[in-house]
């Protein structure tokens, strides 16, 4: 039987994405119960192979696996033999010898999950690969938006920040455009990669243009070390030109959602009054992420999707 993977949203259809969102929604109430566990994946083994630093995503996947009663095996970058010169495939094949049903991979190189999917006998869930995709983050963003706006088609979504280096941006653009949203990406030209429009969005370097009449504004985390690469000169200049503060947000729709994949640099990409304000759904993104990852694991470990 062919293994089922979740490698990226670019290769999924709108209908497939909707089905994953529906599945995630059906898992949401488990976390609200007194006993937060179901036997859906009892006896299954899920390997968490995190070869790049991650706290939030890893915690989310680990909890998702536990809530579905799966056994987990964790291997992280610092403990791995990758640093001893073993190739990624060697590492993965050694883990595959324990016959896990799913390997959840976080890796700094784009395409690493695709390499595993092609050569290792396990379902692969991409937990973020380089600047390529972070499909479960994309799905949780979609589900959060769908819950609040009751639809995705026709919404204007602005994604502001370092698009060039963001896997979240690529997953969001792919998912949102598949489901009919109008996506505008925004950042200084140093952060807008060549040909980003081919993913299904428009691009602008004007924050005002991006935010105007937006239903959702997604702010990306600024990695401060990028200043050293001359992508932007300073935090204060970035905050002034591309940050989201209450004044700028006034140009958006009155009920515009403010989102951020976390962790937030308060005062850089997000003004504290916006990050913690009434339109922010940032913490809700985190709890939605748990349901989405339960859905991703359940789907890949062989559970059937509701028709």
């Amino acid at each position: 039987m062919a293994r089922r993977h979740l490698l990226d949203l670019q290769s999924l259809t709108g209908a497939e994405i909707e089905r994953l969102l529906d599945l995630a929604e059906s898992f949401e109430d488990i976390s609200l119960r007194a006993v937060k566990k179901v036997p859906a994946l009892r006896g299954r083994t899920i390997c968490l192979l995190f070869l790049e630093a991650s706290t939030r995503t890893r915690a989310s996947f680990e909890l998702a696996a536990k809530r579905l009663s799966a056994d987990t095996l964790s291997v992280s970058g610092s403990a791995s033999s990758v640093e001893k010169g073993e190739t990624l495939l060697d590492t993965a094949r050694n883990l595959a010898a324990y016959r896990p049903d799913v390997i959840v991979l976080r890796h700094k190189a784009s395409g690493a999950p695709h390499l595993l999917a092609a050569h290792v006998d396990a379902s692969i869930v991409n937990a973020g690969d380089g600047a390529h995709e972070h499909p479960t983050q994309g799905l949780l963003d979609l589900l959060t938006i769908r819950r609040h706006c009751r639809r995705i088609a026709g919404l204007k979504v602005a994604i502001i920040g370092d698009i060039a280096h963001s896997r979240v941006a690529r997953s969001d653009i792919a998912g949102l455009s598949r489901l009919g949203a109008e996506v505008v990406v925004c950042g200084p030209p140093t952060m807008l990669p060549t040909g980003i429009e081919t993913l299904g969005c428009t691009a602008t370097s004007s924050r005002e243009e991006a935010v105007a009449d937006a239903d959702v504004v997604m702010m990306l985390r600024i990695q401060k070390e990028r200043a050293a690469e001359e992508l932007f000169p300073s935090d204060r200049e970035y905050a002034a030109a591309y940050g989201l503060d209450p004044q700028v947000l006034r140009a958006a729709k009155p009920d515009c959602l403010v989102m951020h994949p976390g962790p937030v640099n308060r005062g850089v990409e997000l003004h504290p009054d916006v990050a913690d304000g009434p339109r922010s759904v940032i913490l809700e993104q985190v709890s939605t992420g748990l349901a989405v990852r339960m859905a991703a694991l359940y789907h890949c470990a062989g559970g059937e999707l509701p028709a």
Binding site: Q10, L115, P193, T194, G195, T198
Partner: protein
């Protein structure tokens, strides 16, 4: 008097003399003794059947990596030269980017002697332009030339300091060596691993802009003009490089260039297919418009030479995510087939294709080109121009090529160096 070896029944195609007609070659004592019409009675002697085949001067490869010394997990002189003669190459000019680099007369002499002991193709290295290819200090170029180097080059690591590069070009000119420059601006490349464009953006891979090559070619042209050195750029991959070379040629600046068969056939779009690491090469694969311009440049002679661009890698070096996999593709045994594929597609004619593997490379090296003419060295290749055979049984140690299993024309029947059969399709390399 040594015995003659008679090559009969073939179509003799010689870009040097312009001959393209059926005929018989008589080889003796390492040289071509006579070129006879097909119907003339041939002298007595051992004969090789070239019926239905093309007989041409042996090929010269300007861009290959034999990974010797230092990288036996990738290739060795034995496997590398076996691959070369199977591909019809009678002379290869391996890169100095070895470990240690080919930066001393002793290192060059060692390689030449080791290669000569294999008695296959001629191995005439490109030595390092700077010590350790570090771009800081000139190498002993008179000594390198005396030891057997036919050129000096940056080994794929462009010299950053334009002042030093100028001195190196001036000095190489005095030593009588042409200078190989890999045309890529390292700063514009940054951490790029594939062509910068929509495909790289979609895949989340850092891009190498075409401008990195344009800038480096422009710089090479300016410095060639300033110093009067013989400069060769390659491998090139962009339409912009072809245009700049054509424009310089029109002004009388005689810089030679080479393209690899990979860049004449593959585009960056192919990388999207599962991040195939065999497609990670330097320079990166470019979009179709660049491939088309490069093909036109090769057909028109703006690009004089087609090279294999052979870079062997071990399986482990390719069993990584795209950006972490080592760049390179093995190609010595597919170069002729892929070039003949372009002949089949009408991009260029057969004599021109052969010229890009013979006269063009000789011009870049400043050597007298091989010829099917009395007195010329008997470096000859005999190949089947039409029927297709699946790529298999590679002699190179590398398996890093997307062309394995592809049916290509140009199966080499015999390769002869100095009149000796060094490859025979029935028996393999000697």
């Amino acid at each position: 008097m040594t015995d003659a070896l008679i090559l009969r029944g073939g179509r003799l195609v010689c870009p040097t003399t312009g001959r393209d007609a059926p005929g018989t070659l008589v080889l003796r004592a390492g040289h071509i003794e006579a070129v006879l019409p097909a119907d003339a009675p041939a002298p007595e002697g051992r004969s090789l059947d070239a019926t239905g085949a093309v007989v041409a001067p042996g090929f010269i490869d300007l861009h290959c990596d034999l990974a010797w010394p230092g990288h036996l997990h990738r290739e060795g002189l034995d496997s590398g030269t076996a691959a070369a003669v199977r591909g019809g190459f009678t002379t290869v000019c391996p890169s100095p980017a070895t470990d240690p680099a080919l930066d001393t007369p002793e290192a060059v002499a060692g390689l030449v002697a080791q290669a000569a002991a294999r008695r296959r193709c001629r191995v005439r290295p490109v030595a390092a332009l700077t010590a350790g290819l570090a771009g800081k200090r000139l190498t002993e170029m008179f000594g390198l030339a005396a030891a057997g180097a036919v050129a000096v080059g940056d080994g794929g690591r462009p010299v950053a300091d334009a002042g030093l590069l100028r001195r190196a070009l001036e000095y190489a000119r005095a030593a009588g060596l042409p200078v190989w420059m890999f045309p890529e601006d390292a700063d514009l490349r940054g951490r790029g691993v594939m062509h910068e464009g929509p495909v790289a953006t979609r895949l989340g891979l850092a891009g190498v802009p075409a401008a990195a090559e344009h800038l480096a070619v422009a710089r090479a042209l300016v410095l060639a003009e300033l110093t009067g050195a013989r400069v060769h750029v390659g491998p090139i991959s962009t339409a912009g490089a072809v245009a700049r070379l054509a424009e310089a040629r029109a002004r009388g600046v005689d810089v030679t260039a080479a393209a690899t068969v990979a860049h004449l056939h593959l585009t960056d779009a192919a990388v999207a297919e599962r991040y195939a690491t065999d497609l990670r090469v330097c320079p990166p694969l470019r979009p179709q418009a660049d491939v088309d311009a490069l093909r036109a440049g090769v057909a028109a002679g703006v690009v004089q030479a087609v090279a294999s661009g052979h870079v062997p890698r071990s399986p482990a070096e390719k069993a990584e995510a795209f950006a972490e996999a080592a760049p390179g593709m093995v190609a010595l045994e597919t170069t002729l087939g892929l070039l003949l594929e372009l002949v089949a597609q009408g991009v260029l004619d057969l004599p021109t294709a052969i010229a890009r593997l013979t006269v063009g490379p000789a011009q870049a090296l400043g050597l007298t080109p091989g010829a099917l003419a009395p007195g010329a060295p008997a470096d000859v290749v005999v190949f089947d121009p039409a029927s297709r055979v699946r790529v298999a049984g590679l002699q190179t140690r590398g398996r890093n090529t997307p062309f394995l299993g592809r049916a290509l024309p140009g199966l080499v029947r015999y390769t002869l160096v100095e009149g000796r059969v060094v490859f025979d399709a029935e028996e393999g390399p000697c």
